[in-house]
Amino acid sequence: MRWNFQFFLCSVFSFSLAVASAKPVSFHSSEEVVTALKIFAIDKMAKDVAKDPATTADALLEIKRAVDFSKDNTLSATAYQLLLKVSIATLKSDPQFTAAEILEPLYKKNPELFKKNLQAFPARQQKELLKDIELSEKESTQGNG
């Protein structure tokens, strides 16, 4: 009886650990966001983001984690700028502009702050990103047919 209970507890603990490890790790601070995204803004990596789908996918995953962090926290100015920089870089190798889809909740949370941070980028890139977010929103409400 005692052995069976201990076995049960071990099984539950192991299962919980397995489930927890399968989920992507969340950020806990803006500094962690900066550390994770900075790597994609370094020269060689930035070039790979712009042309290699696999690297772009890795960058998109970090963008997603950063946006998830921002849902309940405030991103620092540095983190926000870096997030937008990496997102815009992914648009070059991603005809589906997935980054815009991921950024949609961040934009909706505070559109004025989003646009203010976007002003650091060339006008054409600002317009493209905002247009892509609008198209992503349209797809989620109206479909793609």
Binding site: T56, A57, D94, L135, N144, G145
Partner: protein
């Protein structure tokens, strides 16, 4: 006191009588044409509220009516009670509610009273209904909506001549100069746009040879080389660009209808609906045949040339994806509203979706059956 009470009583009774006498008679409405069903009471082209394209023959009950201040027409909120026997998108169901535009001048709606008798003049009942709710000030008028036809699609794809100023028109004319400048600006932006993208190789116009995989199959090799499929691919190449517009299914619908692969415009909103929509149009899903399913599995590169590949992530809220495969080997391209040498699974988006546990999975490989080739 007694007099006041009697007066009040009389007023209440009169009001009740008035309301009872003016109870709307409309019991059922039938759509005699194709309508745009909207999710809210806003018929402007910028409204971004299209819920579904409602085909002719739908029967519904009338929930609300609003008179549009600018046009004098009505917005009607309907609840679908019966679907017609003809092709209807599986995304439209009994019980769905939509706003549709109704104009007496161009009426395509039949109104019946609760006894099933046609109402020749529903205006008074509509006014009555509308008086119980706020009117909408519409800033635009939507003309009679209709689903695209094959000729409209082909006409839209035909190259438009660039208007040149006539010899008598001074080039210093502001409007002509601005139009010309706008055209040049659009062309230059398009060049920059395509050159900054990882542009695929030039689209080959030569005949696509049957693949080694499918050459032994008489049906599929005939499909790959059929004139309809070639025409579909030709139209798809002309209308796509290097950058998605998030309208993959819309473009594939136009490609299929414009080439005569299907006879009418599918009304599904989401790419993942395409399997059912296209089966209703007479196409077949190769994944429903075990011998083809084992060859294709989940690998788009194994799909026959000219097949329409339908993907789903399994998430209810996501639209899925659809693309037409052209060519084989190094000449392979995947086309929808954009063209790419990579299918959606190999793209950055597909790889990202796989990382977050929502991969794009092939749910349909749609082709025409032998008797339609």
């Amino acid at each position: 006191m007694t007099k006041r009470f009697c007066l009040l009583h009389f007023i209440c009774l009169f009001s009740l009588w008035s309301w009872a006498g003016n109870t709307p008679l409309i019991g059922k409405v039938t759509l005699d044409g194709n309508f745009v069903g909207r999710n809210s009471l806003d018929f402007r082209s910028s409204a971004n509220n299209i819920g579904a394209y409602l085909p002719q023959g739908i029967q519904a009950s009338l929930l609300e009516a609003r008179k549009l201040a600018k046009t004098g027409s009505y917005g009607l909120k309907i609840k679908i009670s019966a679907l017609p026997g003809t092709v209807v998108s599986p995304s439209i169901k009994v019980g769905d509610e939509f706003w549709v535009y109704y104009s007496e001048r161009d009426s395509l709606i039949t109104f019946e009273d609760k006894n099933g008798q046609t109402l020749d003049d529903p205006e008074s009942d509509l006014l009555n209904l509308a008086s119980y709710g706020p009117a909408l000030i519409s800033t635009g008028v939507i003309s009679k909506p209709s689903l695209p036809t094959r000729s409209q699609i082909l006409n839209d794809l035909a190259p438009k001549p660039i208007p040149l100023p006539t010899p008598s028109t001074c080039l210093c004319s502001t409007q002509v100069a601005n139009n010309t400048l706008d055209d040049l600006k659009q062309i230059s932006e398009a060049i920059i746009d395509t050159s900054s993208q990882k542009a695929p190789a030039a689209m080959p116009e030569e005949e696509i040879p049957a693949s080694q995989i499918w050459s032994a199959d008489s049906w599929i090799s005939k499909y790959e080389s059929s004139p309809k499929v070639h025409e579909m691919i030709r139209i798809a190449k002309r209308s796509s660009s290097a950058h998605s517009k998030k309208l993959c299914y819309k473009y594939v619908k136009q490609d299929l209808l414009g080439s005569g692969m299907i006879d009418s415009y599918p009304t599904g909103r989401y790419a993942k609906d395409a399997v059912d929509d296209l089966k209703d149009q007479g196409m077949v899903n190769l994944l429903e045949y075990s011998q083809y399913k084992s060859v294709i599995s989940q690998d788009p590169s194994k799909v026959p040339s000219g097949a329409v590949i339908v993907y789903s992530t399994g998430e209810r809220k996501e639209a899925g994806h659809i693309e037409i495969k052209t060519g084989q080997g190094d000449a392979t391209m995947y086309i929808s509203d954009y063209h790419s040498k990579l299918n959606i699974q190999e793209s950055a988006k597909g790889l990202y979706k796989e990382k977050i546990g929502k991969p794009y999975e092939i749910i349909g490989v749609m082709v025409l059956p032998q008797d339609k080739l």
